[in-house]
Symmetry: C2
Subunit: 142 residues, 2 copies
């Protein structure tokens, strides 16, 4: 399943973020034919960044690609995407967004659907536990 | 007028982008009380970046700010914001977006309005000329 490699990459990124003491959210952008184009995790705490969310990091690490590379791509993210990351998926015309969980936070899911993006929510336990631990330990950072 | 310092900063950023051979789009984030919190320009060509649009650059350069700093803020941008930058304005709850021009491109204006963000379009000649020159000289980059 294509979804496996992308989701596993996103989850590994979230774990890296947790190990760094950061917001444990990871993402991976996977091409229509199953290649990981970019992956990354939220760097708000590590870099004091207002913009490097997980999905932005994955797009950043993918670099500047021809439009054909984004065509049919899937964005995997461990948490429901915020408005900025929702917009980034729309800008790059990602076909599908696979979300690890949306119990901790619900972002632009309805807007993505209204713009024709397919959504899948996995309700993954580890994704929820990573966020729960982070919020418990660093409530002021969430 | 508060709008003057923000728009002038955005326009100066767009000119810098042009001088660097980049996409000539600039932005500035201005607080409710008229301070420039951050400013920047599109770095797609200069940094090979898929994410450093003008508005993202302005938010990045502003750094991590307390929510109170964004409250009532205005984002000035020389060109109508794309979906990603639209989402970034929503994430940070910018109150108003002032757009230099929207003849070259129309981004998420309707969505911003639907989410309660005030919009102002200046239809500024220099903003349009900067983009026209860029598109004429580097059509494959636009
Ligand atoms: Ca994030
Ligand atoms: Ca831009
Ligand atoms: Zn985000
Ligand atoms: Zn943009």
């Amino acid at each position: 399943m294509t979804s496996d490699i992308g989701f596993q990459a996103a989850l590994e990124e979230a774990r890296k973020g947790a190990a760094e003491g950061g917001v444990p959210i990871g993402a991976a952008l996977v091409s229509a034919d199953g290649r990981i184009l970019g992956r990354g995790h939220n760097m708000r705490i590590q870099k004091g960044s207002a913009i490097i969310h997980a999905e932005i990091s994955a797009l950043d690490n993918a670099g500047r690609l021809p439009a054909s590379e984004y065509k049919g791509a899937t964005m995997y993210t461990t948490l429901s995407p915020c408005d900025m990351c929702t917009g980034a998926c729309l800008l790059y015309k990602v076909m599908r967004v696979v979300i690890g969980e949306n119990k901790t936070f619900v972002g632009g899911e309805e807007y993505l659907k209204s713009r024709g993006v397919e959504l899948e929510v996995l309700d993954n336990t580890e994704c929820k536990e990573l966020m729960a631990k982070f919020i418990r330990e660093k409530p002021s950072e969430w």
